[in-house]
Symmetry: D2
Subunit: 443 residues, 4 copies
C-alpha cells in the first residue's frame, strides 16, 4: 500500500519540482497517489501543471496516480501527508503587500513587516479550515506547510487548531548550510549548523566541519564577502565586520531587514521603481513557466523553474516527508513546537530549530539560552507573530494595529494604523473575519 499525498495549492508553478522530488525518491518513498487541489480561480493553472505532472510520472514509468481536483475534502480523505503551498489572493495580493508599505516609507516584502502581517491574516483562516478538515478526514496525517509566513502560520496551527502533527518548512537554513559549504569549498554533507530562532529570523549558533567548530573562520570569511547574502533572492550588502564578530553567530539573509533596515528599504524601493515589485517580476516569470508547462512534449521539470526563486523548497518538502516516513534521523532545521528547546520562548510556540527527523516527527534539539544579543529581536518577532495570529483568528482590528506597531520595521502606532487601514481595504475580499459587521449590514 503506497502513500497518499494531498497538495493544497496544487496549481502552483512549483509543483513540477515537488513531482520530481517524489519521482526521484520513489524507491525509498512509495507514493501511490498525489492529489493536486486548487480553488476555482486556480483551475486553469491546476490543469496545466497537473497535466505536466502526469506526463512526468508517466515518463518515469512509476505507478503513481496524479489526481486533479477542486474538492479539498476528497483529496484529504485518508491522506498520509498534506502539503500546503497555496497563496490566498495569488500574486496580485502579493503585489499589494509589496507596494503599499513603500508609500509609507516601510519595507514592502511578503513575509516581513506589513506584507508578512497581511499574508498571515489572509492565510491563517484558510489553514485552520484545512486543519479542521484534517481532524475529520486524515487525523494521522502530517501537515507540511510551506505557505508563508511559515512561522506565524505554524504558530497559529499549534495554538488554534487540534492538529499537532505540523511542520513548517523553509529553504533558508538549508541554503545557509549550502552557502557555508560553498565558502569553505567542501561537500555540503560535511557541514552542520546548529540553527535556532524563528522562521526568517534564524541564526546559525555553531558551525561544524566534520564535527569540529569552524564558526570563527566562517564569520571571518563572511565579513570579507562583498555581499552579505547566503541565498539567491535577497541580495544584501556585506555585514560590518565589527558587528558580525561581536554577534558571534551567523545571521540569515532576512536579517538584512533588521540589521540593515534603512539600506534594505532603499534597495527594495529602488528595485520596485526600476524593475517592479518582486510580485510583478515573478508574475512575468510564471507566465513564461506556464507557457512552457503547456507544451505536451514537456515531461520533466524545466530547468527554467530554478530561476523562479524558492528553489529547493518543494524538494526540501519531499526530503522531509521521506525522512519522517523512513525514520532517517537526519538533522533538519524546521518550524515546530518549541517544547523548551529555546529558553524564554513558550513551550507551545513555534520555533525554527535544528531537529532530528524521526518516524514520530521532528524532535527539536535543546539549545538553552540564545546569545544575549539576539534574544531581543527573536522575542520581538515572536511577539509580532503571536499578536498577528490572534488578530487573524479573532478578526480584531486593534490587534492588527498593535501587531504592526510592535513590528520593528514599522515602530510607529500612527504609521501602523495608516498602513493597516489601506491594506485592510485593499485585501478586503480575503479578510472576511475583519468585516463581519459590514457583511451583516450588506445582507
Amino acid at each position: 500500500m503506497g502513500l497518499k499525498i494531498a497538495t493544497i495549492g496544487g496549481g502552483s508553478s512549483y509543483t513540477p519540482e515537488l513531482i520530481e522530488g517524489f519521482i526521484k525518491r520513489y524507491e525509498e518513498l512509495p507514493v501511490s497517489e498525489i492529489w493536486l487541489v486548487d480553488v476555482e480561480a486556480g483551475k486553469e493553472k491546476l490543469e496545466i501543471v497537473g497535466n505536466l505532472a502526469k506526463r512526468m510520472v508517466e515518463k518515469a514509468g512509476l505507478p503513481i496516480e496524479v489526481h486533479l481536483t477542486l474538492d479539498r475534502r476528497e483529496a484529504l480523505k485518508d491522506a498520509d501527508f498534506v502539503t500546503t503551498q497555496f497563496r490566498v489572493g495569488l500574486l496580485d495580493a502579493r503585489a499589494k503587500d509589496e507596494s503599499i508599505p513603500l508609500k509609507y516609507g516601510v519595507l514592502g516584502q511578503e513575509t516581513n513587516g506589513p506584507g508578512g502581517l497581511f499574508k498571515g491574516l489572509r492565510t491563517i483562516p484558510v489553514i485552520l479550515d484545512i486543519c479542521k478538515d484534517m481532524e475529520e478526514l486524515c487525523p494521522d496525517a502530517w501537515l507540511i506547510n510551506f505557505a508563508n509566513p511559515a512561522g506565524m502560520i505554524t504558530e497559529a496551527v499549534l495554538r488554534y487548531s487540534n492538529i499537532k502533527k505540523v511542520v513548517g518548512l523553509c529553504n533558508v537554513p538549508i541554503g545557509m548550510e549550502m552557502a557555508v559549504a560553498h565558502l569553505l569549498e567542501v561537500e555540503h554533507s560535511r557541514i552542520r549548523i546548529d540553527f535556532a530562532g524563528l522562521n526568517h529570523m534564524v541564526y546559525g549558533l555553531e558551525v561544524y566541519l566534520d564535527g569540529k567548530s569552524v564558526k570563527d573562520k566562517v564569520i571571518k570569511m563572511v565579513t570579507e564577502l562583498d555581499d552579505s547574502s547566503f541565498v539567491k533572492n535577497i541580495q544584501g550588502i556585506a555585514w560590518e565586520p565589527a558587528f558580525l564578530k561581536a554577534l558571534n553567530a551567523i545571521p540569515c539573509p532576512y536579517h538584512n531587514y533588521y540589521y540593515k533596515t534603512r539600506e534594505m528599504f532603499e534597495k527594495t524601493k529602488h528595485d520596485a521603481e526600476t524593475k517592479g515589485t518582486r510580485a510583478e517580476v515573478v508574475k512575468a516569470l510564471e507566465k513564461d513557466l506556464f507557457e512552457l508547462y503547456k507544451d505536451p512534449e514537456l515531461d520533466i521539470k524545466p530547468p527554467q523553474l530554478e530561476k523562479r526563486g524558492g528553489a529547493y523548497y518543494s524538494d526540501a518538502a519531499v526530503r522531509l516527508i521521506s525522512s519522517i516516513h523512513n525514520d532517517k534521523r537526519d538533522i533538519q532545521p524546521v518550524n515546530t513546537i518549541n517544547n523548551g528547546a529555546i529558553a524564554s520562548i513558550p513551550n507551545d510556540s513555534a520555533v525554527e530549530i535544528s531537529c532530528v527527523i524521526t518516524k514520530e516527527g521532528p524532535k527539536p534539539i535543546a539549545i538553552g539560552d540564545l546569545p544575549v544579543a539576539v534574544r531581543g529581536l527573536v522575542q520581538q518577532i515572536k511577539s509580532f507573530e503571536r499578536v498577528a495570529a490572534e488578530a487573524a483568528v479573532t478578526g480584531d482590528y486593534d490587534l492588527a494595529v498593535l501587531a504592526l506597531t510592535i513590528n520593528p520595521l514599522v515602530a510607529s502606532d500612527k504609521l501602523a494604523k495608516e498602513i493597516v487601514d489601506e491594506m485592510m481595504e485593499a485585501h478586503k475580499e480575503y479578510l472576511p473575519q475583519f468585516f463581519k459587521g459590514e457583511l451583516v449590514q450588506g445582507n
Copy 2:
C-alpha cells in the same frame, strides 16, 4: 548618631532639591552629615551650590553638617547612603550625545539610542570605581543611583561589582501615577500602578483606584488626550486608540521613541534646529540657576529649579532613603535585581518594577509573564543594555557596534559603525577603556 549621606556629583543644580528633601524629612530621617563630592572641573559649581545648601540647613535650624569635598574617599568613609547624580563630561558631552546621532537620521537623546549608549560607556567605569571604594569604605551602605541611563548602570553594578545594595531611581513611574491621578481627578495616594519593565521602558500593567482596577477607563481617557505624554520633558503625540486598547497597558513617556520612532525623530530634530538641543536649553537654564544660587540671601530651593526638568528626582531619592531607613513598606517602582519577578529576564539582571521598600531594601513584586505584545521590546532593550554594559567594562569596540546595531532606534550595522566611530572620537577623553592601545603608544 545620625546618618551620613555621600552625594557624588554634589555640584549638580539638583542639589538644593536634595537638601530640601532631607530638611523636610528630618524628623523621620535624622541625617547628621551630608558630604557633597565633585571633581576638579566641577569645583566652582560645588562651592556655589554647597554654600546654598549650608544656608538652607542653617535656615532650617537643623544640626546637619554639610561638607564640600573633592576627596571622594573621605566622603564615602562610613557613609550610610551614597547617592550618585554625576554627569561624566557634563552638559557638553550631553550636547554631543544629542546632536551627533541626528546627522545620521537617528534620535539624539541622552538615555536612548546612541546617546544612551555613550552616556553608559562614559559612566559605567566611574560607577564601578565608586563601588570598589564602597566595598572598602562603607560596605553596608546603600547606593542610590540616579545617574542615567539608570537601567544600564544598575545592570552593570549588579553584574560587574560586588555591591549588591544598589537601587536605580527614576522619576518616570511616579510621574505616571501622578498623571493618572490627575486624569482621574483623585488624590495620588488613592492610585496604585503595577509597574514592570526596564528603566525608561516601563509599563503600567494594572491601575488601581482604591484597590479596584480602573485600567480600562484610564486607557480610554489616555486615548482621548491630545498629548501622549505623562511627564513634562517629553512631549508626545496622542496614542492611537486602537494600539493602546490592544496593548492593554500604560506605556511610559519614553515609549514614544519606540512606538512613534519616526515622529519623535522628526520632532527632536526640529526642536534641535529651532531651540537647540536639550543640553543647550538646560545649559542656559543652569547658568541662570547658578546665578540665583550665588545670591547669599537665598536660603531655600528656588522655585525656578522645578522648570529644570527631572523635578522630584532628588525628592524621590530622599523618600526612598527614608522608606529604607524607616522600613516604610510603601510600594515604589525602582530599578533592582529581578530575582524572577519578571519572567524571561535573568534573575540577576536589573529591572524596573514595583517593589515594597523595607529596611532590607526594595523587594520586587512578582508579576510573572509580561503581556505578549511587550515582551519583545523589553527583551530587546535588555539585550542592548547587557551588550552595552559589557562593552563599557571591556572596552571592546565590536561590542559597542553590536549594541548599537541591535538598538531598535538604529537597526543598521552600517549606521551603528559610523555613529560609534564619530561618537567614540568625540567622547575620547572620557572613554579611556577604548583607547588603551593608543595611550600606551602615547607614552
Copy 3:
C-alpha cells in the same frame, strides 16, 4: 456602610477568636454583619457558639449584627469577605485520617500524608461549590480560606474555579517569626523572615533583625535547642546541627515529618496509643469548650480556647482582612498564586510566600530560585498537591493512588493502594465523586 463577613463553618470552636478579632479591630475594620453558616449536622454547635458571639458583640457595645444560618447562599449574598473554616466529616473524619495510616506504618496526620490527601479529597469539592456560589452572589469578595490542607485547597481553587481573589492562611509562618523573636529576646515587630515554599512546607530563607541578617545566629541558636519545634502543637526533636547549618534556612515545624520521618512516625504512633489520636484529644477539649460556651454569662473568648491548638489562626484571618481593607502593606506570608515568585513552580500554582498585603490583595515578593537542597522536597509536595487536587475534582481512583505513592511519607505503590482502599471506604459518605457508579447502581 459596613462590611459583610460570611463565615462558612461558623459553628467551629474557633469562632469566638474570630469574633474577638473583629471586635478589637472594629475601629479600623467597620464590620456591620457577620454571617455564621453551618450545615445541618453542625446546627447545635452553631447555635451555642453563635449565641456566645452575639453576647460578645453586645458586651463590646458595637453595631455588628451576628446572623446564624444554614442557608449558605443567603450568607454569601453581597459579602465582602468569605472565611472558610469548616471540616467535612467533623472530628470523626479526622480521627480516621489520623488512625488508619498508622496501621500501615505511615504517619497519621490531618494535613500530611494519607490524612492530608483524604482531607483534601473531602474538602475540595465543597470549596469549589462555595466558589461557584461566590461567582454568582459576591464576585468581588475575597475568599480567606483556613480550612486545611490549605495549600492543596488554594491550588484547587486557583486551578479549578473562577475565583481568583483567594488567600490561604496558615499560622505556621507567623509562629516561626514569633519563635525567632522569642529566641532572640526581641519584639516580634523587629524580626522579619523571607518565607518561601508551600503550605506546611515553608522555609525561612533569610531572617532580619532591624533589617540586618541574623540567619546564621538564629540557625546556631536553633541547633542548640532541645526541641526542634517552633509552634506548640508539633513537638519535635532538635535538628542535627550539621544538617541545619548546611541547609542554611529555617525549616517549619511540619518539616519534622520529612526530615525526621521515622522518628515522627514513632512519636505519633506512641502518642496515639497512649493519649489517643489528636482528633480524640481535640474532641474532648471541644466538648469542654462547648460546655463553657453554653454559659449565658460568658461574653468573652474564654482563655481555655488558646489551649485548643491553632491559636492565632482566626486572629490572623482578621488581621489579613484588615490589611486588605486598609491597604496596610504589611508583609505577611500567605498562600497565593505564585506568579513567578518562586522559580520552577508554575506561575498559576499556589505557594506560601511573603507577600505585601494591599487593597488589591497579597502581592508575592519574588525570591528567584529556592536553595538547591530544598527544591526537591518542595517540588515533590507540589506534585502531590496537584495530583491530589486533580483526583478530588475528577474522582479518579488511579490518581488518588498515584498521589499517595509519590507522597514522600508513603513511597510505595502497594501501601498507597491499600491505604487508599481502606480510607476511601471509611470516608465513603464524604467522597461521592469516587462512588458515582455505585450510586447509579444504588438507584
Copy 4:
C-alpha cells in the same frame, strides 16, 4: 591514523566485553591503540585481563595495539576517547556501601541512598583529577564515563571541571527498550522510547512502535506482569495497575527503590542475609571470571561474563564511541548537559535524556515539562546529586549530612548523621578531602 582509546580501570572484569566491542566494530571504528590503565592495587587483574585482551585482538587478526600501564598520563596523551570504569576501593568498598545502611533500616545499594552518596564521594575527586590531566594531555578527547553513580559524576564533571566533552553512560534505558520490544514481541529496532530524567531515575515518557505511540498498550501489559523489573539485576514486584496507569509513563527498574521503598528494603536485606550482599556475590563471580581469564587458551570474551550483571555496558560504550566518530545520528539516552531539554532542571546540570548522537557529541532532544507527578522525585534526586557533588569537592561534612537527609531513602537528619559517621570512618582511606585536618595532625 587510527584512534587511541584510554580506559581507566582497565583491569575490570568487563574489559573483555569492551575489547570485543572494538573488535566487532573495527571496520567502522578504526582503533589503533587501546591503553588499559589501572592503579597499583589492580596490577595483577590488569595483567590477567590485559593479556586476554591481547589474545582476543590477536585472534581477530586486527592491527590494534593493547597497552597495559599504571601510568595514567602516558595513556591519556593524545587519546581520542577516554573511558572510565574504575571502582575506588574495589568491591570491598561496595560491600560496605551495601551492608552498613542496612543496619540503620536503610537500603544498601551502590548507586542509591547512602551507598550512592559514598561511591560518589570516593569517585568524584578521582574523576576530576582525570579531567585535569585530560585538559592538559588530550583536550579534544571525549570522556565516556560509566563509573557509577553516573548522574552525580557527570554533574560534578560539568560543574567542577573544564571538560565539557563528557558523556555518562548507563545500560538501563537501552535495557528498557529491549524489555519493551520483548514484551511486544517485535525487533528492538522498531521500538523507540522518549527518555527523560536522571541517571537511575529515568522515565519512558512515550513509547513508539514504528513511529506510532503504543504507550497505553505497554503500560497495560506491564501492569499484567508478575515482575516489575525491566532489567536483570533488580528484581521487583509488579507495579500496582492504578499507580502505573495514572503515572502514564514507564518507570525504570531503579524506581522500585522510590515507589516500593519498604518492599525493596526488605528484599535487599533478606538477600543480604541469605545470599550475601551483591558485592559479595559479584566478588565470587569475579574470582571465577579471573580464573577463566588466566587461561592462555582463552581468546574470546567468555560467555560467563554475561552473568556478571551490567552486561551490554561496555558494548554500549563502544556503540556510543562509534556513533560519535561516525556521526551516526542514532538516538541514544545518555547523561549529558541539560541545556534546557528538561524544564526546571538548570541548563548546566546533567540529565539522562534521549539524544541524537552526532560527530559533535550527544544533542539532547527537548521534552519541555516533565509530567506533574514525576517532577518532584526528579528534582529531589537532582538536589541530592548537587549537594553530594558539592560535598565531594569541598570535603564539607555538613553537606554530606544534608545530602543524605534530603535523600528520599533516608529522610531523617538523625539517621543521616549516624550513617554518614559510620560510613565516613569505614571509607576513610578513600575520602582524604574529609580528613584534611587529621592528616595534618598525622604528620
